[in-house]
Symmetry: D2
Amino acid sequence: MNTFGNIFRLTSFGESHGEAIGGVIDGCPSGIPVDKLFIQNELNRRKPGQSPLATPRREADEVEFLSGIYEGKTTGTPVGFIVKNTNAHALDYDNLRDVFRPSHADYTYQKKYGIRDHRGGGRSSARETIARVVAGAFAKLVLRKSDIEIVAYTSQVGTVCLDKSYTELDLSRIESSPVRCPDPEKAQQMIDLIETVKAEGDTVGGVVSCVCRGVPAGLGEPVFGKLHAALGNAMLSINAVKGFEYGMGFEGVRYKGSEMNDAFYLKQDGKTGTKTNHSGGIQGGISNGEDIYFRVAFKPVATIFKVQQTVDKEGNEILLKVHGRHDPCVLSRAVPVVEAMAAMVILDYCLLTNIYPQTSGSHPQQTV
Amino acid sequence: MNTFGNIFRLTSFGESHGEAIGGVIDGCPSGIPVDKLFIQNELNRRKPGQSPLATPRREADEVEFLSGIYEGKTTGTPVGFIVKNTNAHALDYDNLRDVFRPSHADYTYQKKYGIRDHRGGGRSSARETIARVVAGAFAKLVLRKSDIEIVAYTSQVGTVCLDKSYTELDLSRIESSPVRCPDPEKAQQMIDLIETVKAEGDTVGGVVSCVCRGVPAGLGEPVFGKLHAALGNAMLSINAVKGFEYGMGFEGVRYKGSEMNDAFYLKQDGKTGTKTNHSGGIQGGISNGEDIYFRVAFKPVATIFKVQQTVDKEGNEILLKVHGRHDPCVLSRAVPVVEAMAAMVILDYCLLTNIYPQTSGSHPQQTV
Amino acid sequence: MNTFGNIFRLTSFGESHGEAIGGVIDGCPSGIPVDKLFIQNELNRRKPGQSPLATPRREADEVEFLSGIYEGKTTGTPVGFIVKNTNAHALDYDNLRDVFRPSHADYTYQKKYGIRDHRGGGRSSARETIARVVAGAFAKLVLRKSDIEIVAYTSQVGTVCLDKSYTELDLSRIESSPVRCPDPEKAQQMIDLIETVKAEGDTVGGVVSCVCRGVPAGLGEPVFGKLHAALGNAMLSINAVKGFEYGMGFEGVRYKGSEMNDAFYLKQDGKTGTKTNHSGGIQGGISNGEDIYFRVAFKPVATIFKVQQTVDKEGNEILLKVHGRHDPCVLSRAVPVVEAMAAMVILDYCLLTNIYPQTSGSHPQQTV
Amino acid sequence: MNTFGNIFRLTSFGESHGEAIGGVIDGCPSGIPVDKLFIQNELNRRKPGQSPLATPRREADEVEFLSGIYEGKTTGTPVGFIVKNTNAHALDYDNLRDVFRPSHADYTYQKKYGIRDHRGGGRSSARETIARVVAGAFAKLVLRKSDIEIVAYTSQVGTVCLDKSYTELDLSRIESSPVRCPDPEKAQQMIDLIETVKAEGDTVGGVVSCVCRGVPAGLGEPVFGKLHAALGNAMLSINAVKGFEYGMGFEGVRYKGSEMNDAFYLKQDGKTGTKTNHSGGIQGGISNGEDIYFRVAFKPVATIFKVQQTVDKEGNEILLKVHGRHDPCVLSRAVPVVEAMAAMVILDYCLLTNIYPQTSGSHPQQTV
């Protein structure tokens, strides 16, 4: 259950304060040039310490590849990789050895396994998402060849919420914003809010929106492998995610069928399109060629610097005040993780559906 | 991709106007008394024609079991079952043979497969959920032995929305309401709204809420098999679902960590509990022993009786007016489907985690 | 665990004396004309009562399709099918209700499940292979389009063993032989042996050999999904199979590397081939374009009509003499089952490797 | 397809001359003391350079653990591990860059992927089995708690074949034999044969026999997950394996049912046993509590030091003479690999069947 995907698969391992975080990417098509700068840049987007808004933990987060690449290209065999943990302050966690932090996974791990690595949350730490970002970067490198593009951004932090859809925003502004919000005014309000809650020793949640452009029609299995169900499953596997909706989502239930249906028409190129896209690019679980878009809800970070009531392993009620290095808001760092998971799902479904154009000259598909 | 689950698995088949809908339930524990009245009653809850609010299509929806049951008990071998389609009006669909109904799966099936059974939506028809309800009924029969109970209800229809949480409602009133809403006043408003949109030839969406009680702590795999991701995947596989959230969901992103964290305390029985349950019974992907609750968004039914613009298979723009028998609102019939999927997930995870207490006297677990 | 395959998948159900044997075929490409005569003929090859050498149980073994086919072609949605059990003599088995027949699955089912349908062996009956033959027939229909052909035959019965390889035999003679052995002289010896053991109330085992021609190079996953491992797993899943070998198999261990290596050379058409084929068409787990061939060992049927010592469910030692209708030798009926499993594996790996040429005009592969 | 297992799973990666061989073990029960000396010793049994009979390539083959272990015990989270490649002589292979060695995987990798790491066979090298031995060592550590023991030995090298079954041999002598054959006289004949073929620049194959003792009754899924099919699939996934048989295997087809059936009787402890064990401990795909035994055929090593005819990537026929460091016979080093794969299968099926006794005090199974 540490493996994700059907054909393009990531198996991940690693704890926050162990030797390394790493993973194995299986099923990546062969012959893909491995753009290591791009991959490292994706990791840097997720890295802590990017701005005063994020945790000051500083990690190089440099990825080392151990297999699956030869003379700069993927070989089709599994890509093993590791990212070493270098800035682990395990002592920060010594007082948490026997304590269950509220709304963390401490208690449930203890119940499930009877043992846990408490340092930095162990396996439940968001450092695990490093492996996802690496695998997602490979998926993006493959999807690029088919002009499939995946872009995510912060659309809500606490009560500050974008009032425009992705079609009304300038998505090229995402990366220049410290909160990865493309609306400069809202972005500033989000920053202000994060600084306020940080000063209070508190945290705040938010929403990441994501759009996948250029996805061909026909991706998705109609019953238990619906494309949006795979995307939802992927997003809900990210730490702190509490909800997923695509197309008009929860908002759409307020409307009537006549308002929500997407009328088909003929586009100028003679292909079939829809006039509106309330469906979010997926109908009956299968992509229809329109943009796929969805929203992912992140709860506020559970680690706060206020006194909280809790219980320890021996069953004593105690008061807890946590120290250490933590984000007041993870949204900006969650953006590349959402993109990575989306890229993995879209590529996996391309491969499942035999849609991806093969790369290598002597691949049997060409010769049969 | 017509198979759902890991240990407890349903493989389903069947089209709306084919011979039969059916499925194979694999991995059901042996020795479970098969309460056929209960199973049929679950099917009846999903059946069309229950009230003037639903489609007048009348189907007996009687399930026939073909295997896996001996002298009234499950044997541990797969349970094959079918429900015959008796009231199919295929002729109603003749004019739809080459037409793509807006916001249906007609177009995407055609793109994916190059061929489709257009009658009643074929495989994309909600009649497919029959198989889920049968398998869910088996799951409920097993879970009953562990006092795990799963209850769903309609919490929103269009703009009519319950303002109480499940702890404030009398859930015993669900089944007596034609819309399966436990708040009589809101239920009446929902009924009024459905009748209005029906008269307009229109449809309306809504939200089903679900609560799972008695689920033990320790269910769920921490990374890619999080319990809530499995539930989300299950719900998003149901026809017309556009969103899933658990615990405080999207609403929770507005709050601070100090407001959302669930403080641990010792319950009267000495066990660890949480004072609040904003987490929705799951922390770090693993159940914590509190109630699990979640919400599922259903879009308005795509079949409306108004003129719509669309395109046919040959690429002509046309005007379409649909006839036939359709629900103006599927929420009441969706309730048992949500419960069925939740029951399958919870049982599957019990079996994955070795939590389910074995039933049969000579099972090897006892003798080893 | 009643599901076989990765992309092309069979889920089977049914007991010997239950209502029906059946299955669900998932992942079959769309647009395949369903040649029902061919499918029924495959079932007839497996059917009991074909000759005096086989069990006199007479079953029509007529397959009914319930879904996944529209206007004579596959639609890409799952094909549900059933074959009713019409000639079940359950009373024959009444004295076996609490008895464990030697070398049958009675004891192990009882230990595993604590309950079992004893009639005719229940789920462990070879009637379960009906579902495999149906699914295999679909796989053959698809493979035909790529000129891939799979042929099996009886190469050994008891001590009577063919001394020629498949390249030295006239495989067109297989079906005209009651034991499905293409060497007329050996076939007669086999028949004589079967009649002798039948007269003694005894049974005898044998070997089925199989060759797959026209399989393109490149099928198979190199580590845990080796093509021959998939074939071996498939064959070992057939009732009564005790061994699998491919290429030179166990015999090959006696030779030196210099004797066993297959030298590469250029064929007349300029393609690379091997001068010998000791490898059996698979190198490093991946097909190399040469014929794939393998052998499958079947133990003698466990049901004999001699007095045997055994134990009953209550733990008493007893003497058992079985009555009923049973084959003295299953080899001829095993031939189509071996072919069916091989066809399913080869097609599944074609689809996994994106080798199968898509059939339908508007399939997205063509348009992307 | 670089992942093996259902609940206890190994995902492996790495090439012969890449940075490292490694893997991820998922699903290992928590609370297991990690006996690193034992694990390293298992690796040493597989290591090259153990005796003059094996390749002189010298590798430390020291395993480094990166995750999943805390304070000396497994935590239930995935165990990432690597073994660095330190003694790689990549230059030895420069002349093989564009050449297809006969009966190696060079040609098929090239056809499948269109690119390959030719150094030392890349991913197709038997160095990949390192990951299996590490994972198998973990499985053995878990199985030990249930007194399940797995022992393999060399039973044939070329034409030198043991004439005794495992019950007639002193299995404690296996490890003191350079060929891991417990019969001293035959062992010496095997050594003599290996030295002869080595002197000729040739190689020789053989058979590994394996016995699993203490396996409880009830393991195995009756149709497509038969225990022996899982074992066969595991063994056929090992490099150079050409055949698998269990119980009486191919030899058993020569006998009659009355000779092969295993009569049940009551053992002195009152439990049911079988007088003979021709079945090999598995009936109907499910373990019956008797010893499980099977045999695995290994072809002669394909790398020989004689001139061979072959073809290069550009399609020229050439003569090839290989240099480098290679085993004349892999049988002794294959023994721990066979054991490792068997241990992984048996543990996986224990976990699938809920048979393994949980280890940790607060595991939910105890509290529910």
